[in-house]
């Protein structure tokens, strides 16, 4: 899904000579205007990562929950926003149902029941409503993120009783009841609810569990854990100090925080494309399935190291020399190191004279934005614009005449020479002027991400300019990107939208501007940005007007600046 917001940020770079062509390129390509966003409560369908995290938090990581669902529709570049409108068609329900059955079978199975079920039945071949009630009440509270009402608990226990009685097996009864809970809408949909705000009569606010939900999804990519639920139910999360305390606790949980950071960047950088990444084995024999898997993980390791372990400047992910390698990647990088099989991954500092620096020059970004057997400056430039700068590069016009680029003259040996054909064609030029200058400096890496100095015997010209800076190679591009303000403003906007689960509203634009300013003041460090968002009043605010005539909600955006 594309949006039209790029014009405001991208146009100035192409005003000279390119304006009309960009306009021409974009003609007819913009989708219908989206309805304006309001700060309404959001109901998100749980995605595969959140599902796995929730199951692991509630039952332990031994319980496997391979939910094989495709990503939700991308809205403003994020599948996380598509979760707010995602439906459960029959095919999707079947996937949820099959996974629920598998999870419940494991939980009550002999290998796990003693650990996960807090009581034992009087007789294993008979129902035991007291024990079932203890287990189901506890689990239900955790997975529905609210205490179960007596009525709901009674229904769950009754299901366990009836099935346990019929099958003459207490645990089988629990298994069926748990399966039902794991396909209940209260579990699969992460529902935000409102309540009257006692401090402002006549005004509503997100209730505690809903605030906990936003926090959990933003920071951990998981619904709330026990402690966060406790804080939600005690009213602690309705206070500035209580929220700050919980945010501090969550940010201090390195593994769960890393989970959250990985989930966000996986979404923002479209890492869901990697399972489909293949290279031609004849042209790129080094690019194995293992390399494809590792190259996606490598991106996340670099980001996690820079943002979490080092607490460094976000912009440095474009220039860092600290990378991580598996043996398969080291082979492709032609780096002669031996990684013990017990480690699998090892950190590696690229030497100063290495042509690589930052994630744009790593195999993951380079290979996924290439053809199976050839590099693509256009795809790389497009991905850099769209994924890191929140700009939208229009699709080629549907009626474009491709004859100009048919079977390029074999005397044109490099991508730069071939792409000149596009830039000479006025229909193509508008878009290619946007993409190619950012992709051509990366031409020193082939379609598998391996370094090369020449293409078809000709020396590759990797010089270029961006954001007012001239450079000679990929490292120069990386440095220019590092300093471009679109990089940081894009991150802040995407992160905020990811957290609230919807597009920013008009009234939140100033909030995002404030956050950008704070991000800069904090040295572009990511964790402080997370803290600023998670502790801001704006993050939990709901609009005066939400699309439900049955409720009157009010805004608390007046205090939208960060606490």
């Amino acid at each position: 899904m594309t949006t039209g917001h790029w014009t405001s940020t991208l146009m100035p770079a192409f005003v000279v000579g390119g304006l009309m062509l960009v306009h021409l390129c974009a003609q007819g390509q913009e989708p219908a205007a989206a309805p304006p966003a309001v700060n309404a409560p959001v109901i998100r369908l749980m995605n595969a990562g959140q599902y796995a995290n929730e199951i692991a938090y509630v039952f332990g990581s031994d319980i496997k929950a391979p939910l094989r669902l495709p990503s939700f529709r991308r809205v403003d570049g994020l599948a996380g926003l598509g979760a707010g409108s995602a439906l459960v068609p029959a095919g999707t329900f079947n996937i949820f149902y099959g996974t629920a059955q598998a999870v419940a079978e494991q939980v009550v199975g002999p290998a796990h029941r003693d650990l996960l079920i807090p009581c034992k039945p009087k007789e294993a071949h008979m129902p035991d409503d007291v024990c079932a009630g203890q287990f189901l009440g506890k689990v239900g509270h955790l997975i529905f993120h609210r205490p179960l009402s007596a009525d709901v608990l009674r229904v769950c226990v009754k299901a366990a009783h009836e099935t346990g009685e019929r099958l003459q097996n207490f645990y089988a009864g629990l298994q069926y009841a748990l399966t039902g809970m794991l396909v209940a809408p209260e579990f699969l949909y992460l529902v935000e609810e409102v309540e009257p705000d006692p401090r402002h009569p006549g005004v509503s606010r997100l209730d505690g569990p809903s605030r906990a939900m936003r926090l959990g999804l933003l920071l951990w990519n998981a619904p709330p854990d026990v402690e966060l639920l406790r804080a939600a139910e005690s009213g602690e999360l309705q206070t500035t100090a209580g929220t700050a305390r919980q945010v501090g606790r969550m940010l201090a949980s390195p593994l769960r925080l890393e989970n959250g950071i990985r989930a966000f960047f996986s979404d923002m950088l479209l890492l869901d494309a990697f399972p489909d990444l293949v290279k031609d084995p004849i042209i790129y024999p080094d690019f194995t399935a293992k390399v494809a898997t590792d190259s996606s993980e490598q991106i996340l390791q670099i980001i996690s190291d820079q943002l979490l372990t080092r607490q460094g400047d976000y912009r440095d992910i474009f220039t860092t020399r600290r990378i991580f390698l598996t043996q398969a990647l080291a082979t492709l990088y032609r780096i002669p190191i031996s990684i013990p099989s017990s480690l699998d991954w090892a950190p590696y500092d690229l030497p100063d004279n290495d042509p690589r620096a930052g994630i744009l020059t790593q195999v993951g970004f380079l290979s996924v934005n290439s053809h199976p057997g050839r590099s693509s400056a256009t795809r790389r430039g497009k991905a850099l614009r769209e994924n890191f700068m929140c700009q939208t590069v229009p699709e080629p016009p549907p009626n474009v005449d491709f004859s100009a680029i048919e079977n390029p003259d074999p005397r044109l040996r490099t991508a730069r020479e071939r792409l000149d054909m596009h830039r000479k064609n006025p229909v193509c030029a508008g878009c290619h002027k946007i993409t190619d200058p950012l992709g051509l400096p990366l031409e020193s890496f082939d379609g598998a991400g391996k370094f090369r100095a020449t293409e078809n015997g000709a020396e590759i010209d990797t010089s270029g300019s961006f954001s007012g800076k001239q450079f000679q190679d990929a490292r120069g591009l990386a440095a220019a990107v590092h300093d471009d303000p679109a990089i940081t403003s894009c991150l802040v906007r995407r992160l905020y939208e990811y957290g609230v689960g919807r597009r920013i509203s008009a009234e939140e634009k100033s909030v995002v501007r404030d956050l950008e300013s704070g991000f800069k003041d904090a040295g572009y460090r990511f964790v402080p940005l997370l803290r600023a968002i998670a502790t801001s009043a704006a993050f939990y605010s709901i609009s005066a007007t939400v699309p439900d005539a049955t409720r009157t909600l009010s805004t608390s955006l007046a205090g939208s600046s960060r606490h």
Binding site: L167, Y176, Y189, I283, P372
Partner: protein, 448 residues
């Protein structure tokens, strides 16, 4: 315990077609064939089945469109592989997608128009159900699965079955995945002599009923838009309940059902042509038996995606890139490499048709009781043309369709082809499409 309450609005399967609600009846129960296998015991016809087959990047008109219009058409080189099956296939050429000024989004507007009858307002806009979803609303009936979706590409993203862009049915992406779905734990051989209702099925159904009744309270807490979303959830839940309930009854015998073996070996991931063909054909074999064994009546197969990423060992570029960058050979009149990819696609299509035709059913074949509607994203992918967009309709729909015809659309929109299919399948759809694509007309030449 079962269906103790009257049907509510969620318990009636509903579809929206171009904004028009279509209410459909409950599925067929207690189906038994008569003694000679031509009909059910009560004289009703054998149920019809439906599938879609989608491929990317159109065709090469010069070597795809038969010269002869009408019955017993000739087979140009690109569809030479249909030699043994063309009598089952109606081929539609020269049908033009009418955009009414909306942008003809490359590799998008064409397939959306053919599968939904609606030209999308923009690339990525998917607001209407695909034809298989509409058909499933009508005929999914007593089968175990409402529909089965497959992606021969091996990618979860490649599904052309959806109620909207927010409700895409996830595909099986490998033969093992498909086998497990179809023939896993809850599978019941319809020809087993010792049928006993599985207590587990009854208990599953009972639990889901409880979930539905309890979960309905959530509807009171949410706004109108989210109520609609939850409504869809409850519809899906209710469908599973109904199907579980039906599994408690002895299934009708399925004389042609031969429960397949679990596929051996694992096809590695990737979109190399050979791998895709291997995946496709193995999945077709499993699907064919799923239809014959009454596991589903509706399927959707994505052979390749609309910007086909299929590759071939030794080629630098994927098929999509090749369509744009390869010259048309002046002597041949087409792009040789792209021709190869498309010819192989049509070979895989022929494999599907042959597989369905090879299963005897009643007085004819399984294919005779099927309709397979195939379409693509474009006519000439090189220039993203959606004029002359190709479509095929195979199978006789239980005798309601004639096959083996080449129909020249003479520039008409493609909607009548889909409406013909919908009518042949016995749905109550009266019109199909919106704007200039809206039609109440059917292709009478192929209707009996």
């Amino acid at each position: 315990m079962f269906l103790s309450k009257p049907l509510t609005r969620r318990t009636v399967l509903r579809g929206m077609i171009g904004g028009v609600g279509v209410t459909l009846g409950l599925p067929l129960l207690d189906c038994y064939l008569n003694t000679n296998g031509t009909a059910l015991a009560d004289g009703a016809p054998i149920p019809v089945r439906f599938g879609t087959w989608v491929w990317g990047l159109g065709m090469d008109k010069n070597v795809f469109v038969p010269k002869k219009v009408g019955f017993d058409y000739d087979l140009p080189p690109q569809i030479a592989s249909w030699k043994d099956v063309k009598q089952h296939i109606n081929l539609f050429s020269n049908f033009n997608v009418i955009t009414d000024g909306k942008p003809a989004g490359a590799h998008f507007a064409g397939w959306v128009a053919c599968l939904t009858g609606v030209v999308p307002a923009a690339t990525g806009s998917l607001l209407y159900p695909t034809i298989d979803v509409v058909v499933a609303d009508a005929i999914a009936g007593a089968s175990r699965f409402r529909s089965v979706e497959c992606a021969a590409t091996g990618s979860l993203k490649d599904s052309y079955s959806m109620r909207s862009g927010d409700a895409i049915n996830p595909p099986a992406i490998s033969p093992i995945d498909l086998y497990t779905r179809l023939y896993g734990a809850d599978f019941q051989d319809p020809n087993a002599s010792d049928f006993k209702p599985k207590p587990s099925i009854m208990l599953q159904k009972s639990v889901l009923t409880g979930v539905r009744e309890q979960g309905a309270g959530l509807l009171k807490k949410v706004g109108a838009a989210d109520r609609d979303r939850l409504d869809q959830y409850f519809t899906s839940l209710r469908e599973v309940e109904l199907r579980l309930e039906q599994q408690l009854q002895k299934p009708p015998p399925a004389v042609s059902c031969k429960v397949p073996m679990r596929p051996e070996g694992i096809i590695p991931p990737g979109t190399d042509l050979e791998l895709v063909e291997q995946r496709h054909n193995t999945m077709v074999d499993l699907l064919t038996m799923a239809l014959a064994c009454n596991q589903t009546r509706v399927f959707s197969m994505a052979y390749s995606n609309s910007t086909s990423g299929l590759s071939k060992r030794g080629l630098e570029k994927i098929h999509h890139t090749i369509t744009h960058e390869e010259s048309v050979d002046p002597a041949l009149g087409y792009q040789p490499t792209s021709f190869m990819f498309l010819s192989r696609a049509f070979g895989s299509y022929a494999y599907l048709i042959k597989a369905l035709a090879s299963v005897p059913e009643g007085a004819g074949s399984l294919l005779d009781n099927c309709v397979v509607y195939a379409c693509s994203d474009s006519e000439n992918a090189k220039i993203h043309s959606i004029n002359g967009i190709p479509m095929m309709v195979a199978g006789k729909a239980g005798g309601r369709l004639k096959t083996g015809y080449h129909i020249d659309g003479k520039g008409a929109p493609p909607s009548p082809v889909a409406l013909t299919v919908l009518r042949a399948l016995g749905t109550s759809v009266g019109e199909w499409g919106t704007g200039s694509m809206k039609t109440t007309r059917v292709i009478s030449e192929i209707m009996t």
